[in-house]
């Protein structure tokens, strides 16, 4: 068998076996609820959603069984171990080959046959295995009974039924897991010769294990969301409502909660405090001056960006947990094919409107490298992250809402162009769409709240903190006159080409660190409408933040990262200059 051979050979794919670190793997089909089981077992919060491929990089957590400490790994979902299709699935197979102490195989009670097929494949690795029969509640709702005692006797492994989302059955699971791990080596499993025989076996087993009670529904539910009519009008309406909610809720939070708190309560106090205690003018200016880091360092991340982080992730989390996103992908599949994408690209793209880094990570579930590169480039060039969106709204919305919509239209046009160009350049064929749609579920408020909280926390750690540090250095360099000197040095580009005042060099320098910092410093500048829009266009296409360039290097190569850095800078300045000229001409024409 190829697989057995591969286990012995030392290829680059092989993870070295470390005997000191005892691991337990959590495996199963995509979207079976592994991450929920993981959270329940380790007490750690991990991102869970209602679509295949939420977990692209395995999460690790500690699990204590008796006196032993184990590392539990939440492995990305996989349909078929012998045919791992994408990066995320290949990770799963590699982990299985790394000789873990045990495997917990999570079975889907509502999709038993594919679950058992995967289980038989896992059993061929001769590891101690325990199975968990999850989504029991959904199976019960369909009036389907599964005789897990029978399944235990057939597979000769312990099987426990659970409802991961409520925590039902976890006591029994921990006890059995302890038994499995302490028992060590399993009875040797005799693999089926052919995949065909495997399926035959499973169908026979299921015929004996599954009993339909009277009233069991066996057919399909009507799913109007995936039919072109009325699915497409519903999708358009839904997206419009979502967009309006993100903007409206964010602006409301900012206007009525955060801004009054910071501007009227906190900042006057801070200024009084600094004025009272600090005499030295340079130090005082660094703290509360032009780029005063106590003022801008708090106002920018927390009153201008945070409201949109909250509103965006609330909306996104609802979409994720309902199972709607894969349906949206299917509706868009045909249109996406015209620009070199397929429907599954919807999820990484939407994540990109939150933050580019999880978006680039999520491309791992895409079935080809070409798709991964196209999506990563779209996200780097033309998809503003939520921080930058918040900054755009702060900059433009008070002047004209049309300008905000204009920026998003330019962004959309750029994405189409990037898709068309890269589709021609990277000549590989588009992989076929082949995807299972998750059941539609009502999102649970508690889960939603936890998820939004987790993402807000991540924004504060990974977004706000670097922003505060950047503002601190900016205020230091500003007060020392370094930014002014840099502005003069860059003035041929800034003033000569972009028609902006030389102080506009500041956002270009800060913007390398964080995406929204290409926008925020412009807010307090005295600019014309054309200059504001030019600044926004430059900001949109300019270098995505340094952390995104780093993740491009990690996920693809240094070459891709360097090329993106160069291309985004060039595109931003080039297009900015054109907007400045066209804008200037239009103003002349109409005044």
């Amino acid at each position: 068998m190829l697989k057995r051979f591969r286990r012995r050979c030392h290829g680059p794919n092989r993870i070295p076996h470390m005997p000191s670190q005892k691991t337990i793997l959590l495996m199963g089909l995509p979207n079976v609820g592994k991450s929920v089981v993981f959270s329940k077992l380790t007490g750690m919060d991990v991102m869970v959603s209602n679509y295949a491929g939420t977990t692209v990089e395995f999460a690790e957590g500690k699990l204590k069984l008796g006196d032993d400490q184990f590392i539990l790994k939440d492995v990305p979902g996989v349909y078929n171990i012998e045919a791992a299709r994408d990066e995320a699935e290949k990770v799963a197979v590699r982990m299985l080959q790394s000789k873990p102490s045990a495997v917990i195989c999570v079975l889907d009670a509502t999709n038993l046959e594919s679950s058992l097929h995967l289980l038989t494949q896992v059993l061929e690795y001769d590891l101690p295995v325990l199975a968990v029969l999850n989504k029991q509640d959904l199976a019960q709702k369909r009036n389907t009974d599964i005789n897990h005692d029978y399944l235990q006797s057939v597979f000769q492994i312990p099987i426990t039924p659970t409802v991961a989302t409520t925590g039902e059955g976890f006591q029994a699971l921990l006890k059995k897991l302890f038994d499995v791990v302490t028992a060590g080596k399993p009875r040797r499993h005799i693999p089926d010769k052919q995949d065909y025989d495997r399926w035959q076996n499973i169908e026979n087993i299921i015929a004996k294990a599954v009993r339909m009670r009277p009233g069991a529904d066996s057919g399909q539910k009507q799913d109007i969301l995936i039919k072109p009519w009325p699915g497409i009008p519903i999708a358009i309406a839904l997206m419009a409502v979502m967009f309006a909610t993100v903007i409206g809720l964010g602006m409301g939070l900012r206007q009525f909660v955060l801004l009054p708190f910071f501007r009227d309560l906190l900042f006057p106090q801070l200024e009084n405090l600094v004025n009272a205690f600090i005499e030295q003018p340079l130090l005082r200016n660094i703290l509360i001056g032009e780029y005063g880091f106590l003022i801008k360092g708090i106002e920018w991340p927390f009153s201008l960006v945070l409201p949109y982080v909250i509103s965006f992730y609330m909306v996104l989390s609802i979409l994720e947990d309902s199972g709607y996103l894969p349906r949206l992908g299917i509706l868009l599949d045909g249109v996406f094919a015209k620009i070199g994408l397929n429907g599954s690209c919807v999820i990484p793209l939407l994540l990109g409107y939150g933050c580019g880094i999880p978006a680039i990570m999520a491309t791992r579930t895409l079935p080809s490298r070409k798709l991964r590169i196209i999506i990563a480039q779209m996200v780097c060039f033309a998809v503003p992250c939520v921080s930058q969106t918040g900054a755009f709204i702060s900059l433009l919305a008070e002047r004209s809402i049309a300008a905000v919509i204009g920026i998003f239209l330019v962004s959309l046009a750029a994405m189409v162009l990037i898709g068309l160009v890269l589709d021609k350049v990277l000549k590989r064929p588009l992989p076929h769409t082949l995807v299972e749609l998750p059941q539609l579920l009502w999102p649970k408020p508690r889960t939603l709240f936890k998820k939004v909280l987790m993402r807000v926390r991540r924004f504060i750690v990974d977004g706000a903190v670097p922003m505060i540090i950047a503002v601190f250095f900016a205020s230091l360099l500003y007060e020392l006159g370094v930014l002014k000197a840099a502005g003069e040095f860059l003035s041929p580009v800034i003033s000569g080409w972009l028609n902006m005042p030389s102080e506009a060099a500041v956002p270009l320098i800060l913007g390398i660190v964080r995406r929204e910092l290409t926008v925020l410093p412009l807010i307090d500048m005295d600019l014309t409408s054309v200059q504001f829009f030019t600044g926004a266009i430059v900001a949109l296409f300019y270098v995505p933040c340094i952390a995104m360039i780093a993740s491009l290097a990690k996920e693809f190569s240094i070459k891709v990262a360097a090329a993106t850095l160069f291309a985004t800078t060039f595109a931003a300045l080039f297009l900015g200059g054109i907007v400045a000229r066209v804008g200037h001409y239009l103003v002349m024409l109409f005044s």
């Binding site: 065909y196 399909q220 769409t433």
Partner: protein, 94 residues
């Protein structure tokens, strides 16, 4: 793509009369069928697309998008190119 026919399921009573089979693209929404031949793509069986399974055609998408079928309780979207290689037999009464 290797689309070798899996003849093991064809019983002796049934002739190898593929002319009476149609491909998945030719079904109209609402029709049911039995799968007779599946291309050799490793993930298809795991999605429930195996010989002998009953499918329910739900809808086709616009602009060359995928065909959407129901198998047991699952909903699966299949690219039209793959669908054209899946041969099915209409269930009587459809």
């Amino acid at each position: 793509m290797n689309t070798k026919l899996d003849t093991r399921t064809v019983t002796q009573n049934e002739s190898l009369d593929f002319a009476s089979y149609i491909n998945l693209n030719e079904l109209t929404p609402g029709q049911q069928c039995t799968v007779m031949k599946v291309p050799d793509i490793a993930i298809l069986p795991s999605l429930g697309l195996r010989i002998g399974k009953t499918l329910n055609m739900i809808t086709r998408s616009i602009i060359g998008g995928p065909i959407i079928v129901g198998i047991d309780h699952r909903t699966v979207a299949i690219d039209q190119n793959i669908a054209s290689e899946i041969l099915v037999k209409r269930l009587s009464g459809c």
